[in-house]
């Protein structure tokens, strides 16, 4: 079936995305600028040590970055630049924000990509197995572990993993080594603990959601029909039941990507010293580096909106009954 209405729907959603992004930028901008701190603060110790006039130097720095203008003018300037794709200048690292993000995004991406992919595969397979063998010993074992996995906060898990595998056993380095080439086995090894930290909670979630979504559908009449047609059990489960269980799963996986994954990645990067977007955003907050904070918030917003849109489109493929007007 052709889905001609989908195009209009996507356009409409993209328009909404722009409006929402504008709202987020405005809120972030105002919140961060009403604080009492200035990007000049980090120079203050140096200035004082050199015997210079603090107030004068602060004024000079603020004037250089346009921070002395009324906030509404600054806001207007920021939006104008943003509309032209200019994310601003990072005070603390002395480079354009876009370059800073260009340098660091890959570290976040590799962590999130590997964790989500592995978690989805392992979680869904274990969940399917658990559902098909409901109330078996293995089902109980999987359920127990997934309950534990959901309950363990990943900042705690990360620290414990470092203590055990890096400090005690010495299998891994305590900190992530940024000198390693990205596409190398050493780099992959360096990511084992971070991926495990970020992925455990996700696997646990996927197991539980897959199991219940599969169980919801295993008893449906169409499953009996599928068996009565002479289909082998793997087709009955893998095609007929799983296709129907996919819908709630897509929601959960995409929702996780937006909240747990990005949030969890932020913490995981800080624990393991991975120089991803979470880490630079964390540093930027402490350096009062406004443009970086706003830019990364904006990227998060766009990713979340994009993921939502992809989810909505994915629905229409997994469930033909859904259409948007």
């Amino acid at each position: 079936m052709r889905k001609s209405w989908l195009q209009g729907y996507i356009l409409k959603r993209l328009l909404y995305a722009v409006i929402i992004a504008w709202g987020i930028v405005t809120i972030t901008f105002i919140l961060i600028r009403i604080g009492p701190n200035s990007p000049a603060d980090k120079y203050l110790a140096n200035i004082a040590a050199r015997g210079q006039d603090v107030a004068q130097v602060t004024a000079a720095i603020e004037s250089r970055y346009g921070l002395d203008k009324p906030i509404i003018v600054q806001y207007g300037d920021y939006l104008m630049h943003l509309a032209q794709g200019d994310l601003g200048w990072s005070f603390s690292t002395s480079m354009p924000v876009i370059d800073l993000i260009g340098k660091h995004w890959i570290y976040s991406f590799q962590l999130i990509f590997l964790s989500s992919l592995l978690a989805a595969i392992i979680g869904i397979l274990l969940g399917m197995y658990s559902a098909v063998k409901q109330y078996s010993k293995i089902d109980y074992i999987i359920s127990t572990f997934s309950f534990a996995g959901i309950s363990i906060p990943n900042f705690w898990l990360g620290v414990m993993l470092i203590l055990l595998f890096s400090v005690k056993l010495g299998w891994f380095k305590v900190f992530y080594d940024t000198t390693l080439p990205l596409l190398s086995l050493e780099n992959l090894k360096a990511l084992v603990l971070p991926v495990f930290t970020l992925g455990t909670g996700m696997v646990a979630g996927y197991v539980r959601y897959t199991r219940s979504a599969m169980l919801d559908n295993l008893r449906k009449a169409f499953v009996t029909t599928a068996r009565a047609k002479g289909l082998p059990e793997r087709t009955v489960i893998g095609k007929h039941v799983f296709r129907n269980a996919m819908l709630p799963l897509v929601t959960i996986i995409m929702f996780d990507l937006g909240s747990i994954v990005f949030g969890g990645a932020y913490l995981t990067e800080i624990i393991f010293g991975i120089p991803g977007l979470g880490q630079i955003s964390f540093n930027a907050v402490f350096a009062n580096d406004y443009p970086v904070v706003i830019a990364i918030t904006l990227i998060g917003t766009f990713l979340a909106l994009l993921v939502n849109l992809i989810t909505d489109i994915a629905y229409t493929y997994f469930d033909p009954r859904i259409r948007y007007e």
Binding site: A221, K229, G230, R243, N244, R321
Partner: protein
């Protein structure tokens, strides 16, 4: 098994093992199906007729289990044969249609996908030939615009269309036996008539044998050749349809016939059988019908009646005939 017998069921028992005990849904069913005939399984809701036909193809899901019995088809015992052998027969030689076509189709796959899937699994490889045959079958079921229906999802079709598409699907591998589990219960009267007509034509044209599960004696009279009356999970009477209707033996069958509206009398109320169907978790000892039977005798309370032959085409399980 005689030459004309295509399927023979012996002492079939299917129990559901629940926390409150074993639910004896099917507790000793015997019947045989002849080539080209329409055999009706008749009984009230909960008497075990649906579980009986599901058991024939081992489709009963846990906690249900076939605890004893044999189902002979073509020198194969379907209760004990390998999964692989059974899968070849399911949907191939023996096909099934279900009560509620709405839920019997997978909602996320097209009608065409679901029909083609069955043909492919039973060995048809040429996709175009599969599609042609599928659309031909839809056309044979009087479905308008079969090409469009082939590419439609179940929710885009009406209930009657779905039921007919379901019959088309069941016929896709030219089955020898078609099992229909109350296929007319969920559709309205006109569709019901159409479906009965289709099934009747199929039987005549293809020489197919039909097992028709129903609680509706009107349907039995309409398309049945023979009828098997089931009560409390047991076979209680088996006869040609005319004998069942004109000369019922078992008091329960008599009761069922008496319940039919009769235009020749003026009575305002329909007759009914006092009491309710037995609880399958706690079946009465002896004859399952004895608590509701007007002609109950002492022996009925303790001994399960054996099959008694009344005529060549009529058997009954009742102590009155013992």
């Amino acid at each position: 098994m005689t030459d004309s017998t295509i399927l023979e069921v012996q002492d079939l028992k299917t129990y559901f093992f629940t926390r409150r005990g074993a639910v004896k849904a099917v507790d000793g069913i015997d019947f045989s199906l002849k080539k080209g005939e329409c055999l009706c399984l008749v009984g009230e809701s909960g008497c075990g007729k649906s579980v009986t036909v599901l058991s024939l193809l081992r489709l009963v899901a846990a906690p249900g289990r076939i605890v004893s019995g044999q189902v002979h088809y073509n020198n194969v015992d379907l209760v004990h044969c390998s999964e692989e052998k059974l899968r070849g027969i399911r949907g191939g030689d023996i096909a099934m249609i279900f009560q509620d076509a709405q839920s019997a189709f997978n909602p996320v796959l097209t009608i065409g996908d679901q029909i083609a899937e069955q043909m492919t699994i039973h060995g048809s490889i040429d996709r175009q030939a599969v599609k042609n045959k599928g659309i031909e079958l839809l056309k044979e079921m009087n479905i308008p615009e079969p090409d469009r229906v082939w590419d439609s999802f179940p929710h885009q079709l009406s209930g009657g269309m779905k039921q007919r598409a379901m019959i088309a699907m069941s016929l896709s591998c030219d089955p020898k036996i078609l099992i229909a589990d109350e296929p007319t219960t969920a559709v309205d009267v006109t569709i019901k008539a159409q479906i009965l007509d289709i099934l009747h034509t199929l039987k005549e044209k293809r020489g197919m044998s039909l097992i028709f599960v129903t609680h509706d004696l009107g349907i039995v009279a309409d398309i049945g050749d023979r009828a098997q009356v089931i009560y409390g999970g047991k076979s209680i009477e088996m006869a040609s349809v005319s004998e069942i209707i004109n000369n019922p033996g078992h008091p329960y069958t008599k009761g069922l016939i008496a319940c039919l509206p009769d235009s020749s009398t003026d009575s305002e109320r329909l007759a009914s059988i006092p009491g309710t169907a037995p609880n399958p978790i706690d079946l009465p000892e002896g004859c399952p019908f004895h608590p509701r039977c007007a002609q109950v005798m002492d022996i009925c309370r303790h001994v399960v009646p054996k099959q008694t032959i009344i005529s060549e085409t009529h058997t009954v399980n009742c102590h009155l005939f013992g």
